[in-house]
Amino acid sequence: MLSPTPSPTLDRLQPGESATIIDLRGDTELIHRLTALGVRAGKCVQVLRRAAFAGPLHIRVGTTDLMLRLSEACCVGVTSARC
């Protein structure tokens, strides 16, 4: 059986784009932190801006604004459709 096409991840979103979170990957510590800060499956995430030189993302989930590195953003699976 062919493996399904991987779903897009948060690091692919451009400023102004939004998507629904599908799942969180990576180690438990990171997943716990993301969950505690409101990055959870089913929530809508919006990318507000990207820092220069491939720096962190500025995102918004609900009423919380967060920054996270691209290496952490690629642990967040999102839908390809906007929310």
Binding site: R33, F53, G55
Partner: protein, 585 residues
Amino acid sequence: MKRIALIGMPNTGKSTLFNRLTGAHAKVGNWPGLTVDLLSAKLLLGGEMVHLVDLPGIHDLRGHSSDEAVATAFLSQHIVDVALVLLNASQIERQIGLLAQIARPGLPVIVVLNMADEAAALGITVAHQKLAEQIGVPVCMVSAKYGQGVDQLQKLIVEALHGKLPSGAPTLDSNALEAAVRQNVSVPARASHALTEKMDRVLLHPWAGLPIFFAIMFLMFEAVFNLGKPIQDGMAWAITAFRSTALEPALAALPALLKGLLLDGLYNGIGTVASFVPLIILFFLGMAMIEDTGYLSRAAFLMDALMSRFGLDGRSFVMILMGFGCNVPALMGTRVMRSRGLRFLTMLVIPMSLCSARLQVFLFFIAALFPTRAAPLVLFSLYLISIATAMLTSQLFKRRFVNSDPFVLEIPPYRFPTLRQMVLRGWHEVMHFLRRATRFITAGVVFVWLLTNFPTGAAPGGADTLAGHIGSFLDPVMSPLGIDPKLTIALIFGFVAKEIVIGSLAVIYAQEGQALTAAIAHQIDWVQAYSFMLFTLVYTPCLSTIATIRNEAKSAIFSLLAVAWPLALAWVTSFVFYQVARQLF
């Protein structure tokens, strides 16, 4: 005495509520089984003295970070009569899960929804009575910043202490809690801080963001030094005046040696450090103000890309920057870091920051040996070398101290602290600094005085004293750097506090003011002076800094590294500069 624990996520205004409940009487104390000190205070509630303990801000009790381990250990090893779970009222949906982790049978819990003012401004409404009924735990809305709802909270705490509240609610699993929140909290479709969005568009601009940041920091330093310098001069004058008008006559009858120890050793040493306290208070206030507005987390956002290449992260940069004022508060600031590797690497790098005390030494030597035209350039080169040595240190040690901290941080909305908040904050920081610094500095100045005054009969600070012998003993090591025995003795003084370097040169050369400048300019050339400044910039941090490193790292080996590495780097830097420059000039 009954004990109340305050628990909550970072950025929920925990310390503001703590200060609101306790005033300025908090104490930092050791707890058995815990590796960090916790802030706690006694307060009078309902006619009874109770003990309020502030636990570190935690995201999750299941985590492995040091803060989370401390909170877990505290809750399991110490008796808690009431737990206050502090949540941000505008973020209650994502934070309520913490309650499920803390609640357990027999532990009375009160949910405190803070920043009620902000939630109201965002149009968020909380039916907190109904929420309380559904989850079986009292819920209280407060604004710790403005004091609203605090009376109600105090009443609830008293009731809880007397067993009048349900303890350890039965239905507290996180799904049920979140469902209850969804039913009782209404959040408008677009709840965002309009002012914050506008400010971020400018302050976090991809290209303009960093230059604006540096401009703001520069203005803050300018303001601190312009305000603080006259106060510091006034303090120094008052300290000298007190010595000559009160202490000297009072101690006149004492034997010369004891008098020397008390006046030239203890009083002058501690006085020099004390005269810097006003500057430190102002610096703390300035940084606290910038920190409380939420701007520092933006600085971390802007600088993270660059810092990650050196094994650090955006927050490390903020700490290095704080170090330009004074290394001590910068070192204490590393507590927010959860990864031990990242925290230690940042603590190793901070002492490379050219602090205000070193700046004083440089201003003196630059004025003595360089033409006015070249002065700003010479000073600027020292700042560049300061940053270069920090980055070099980080680059060399990043494999030893690996950063495993996920860089996921909240960007809070801009907040404007009240005067009350700032004063309390500054007070806490200063008391903390003084308590730790005094014992260490006292021992240090006595030691240096003994070195420069024994054996008896030798001229104080001269070649025949112990310090003089050390100076000549170290000559084979120091002369390849162009640093003579007299300057070496000054560097030994500088180990206590860099502020003392100039004062010690005055003792060693037995000259003051213009005459001292002339004497030094006569004895050494600019190559030697620059080599001396390079060494002063990089070598062993001052005693307060070492004491802070020892306290924060709680590791003797790391503290030793933090002393030895800069010393070695300073020697190599000065050696390379002096030998190359001597060939050329």
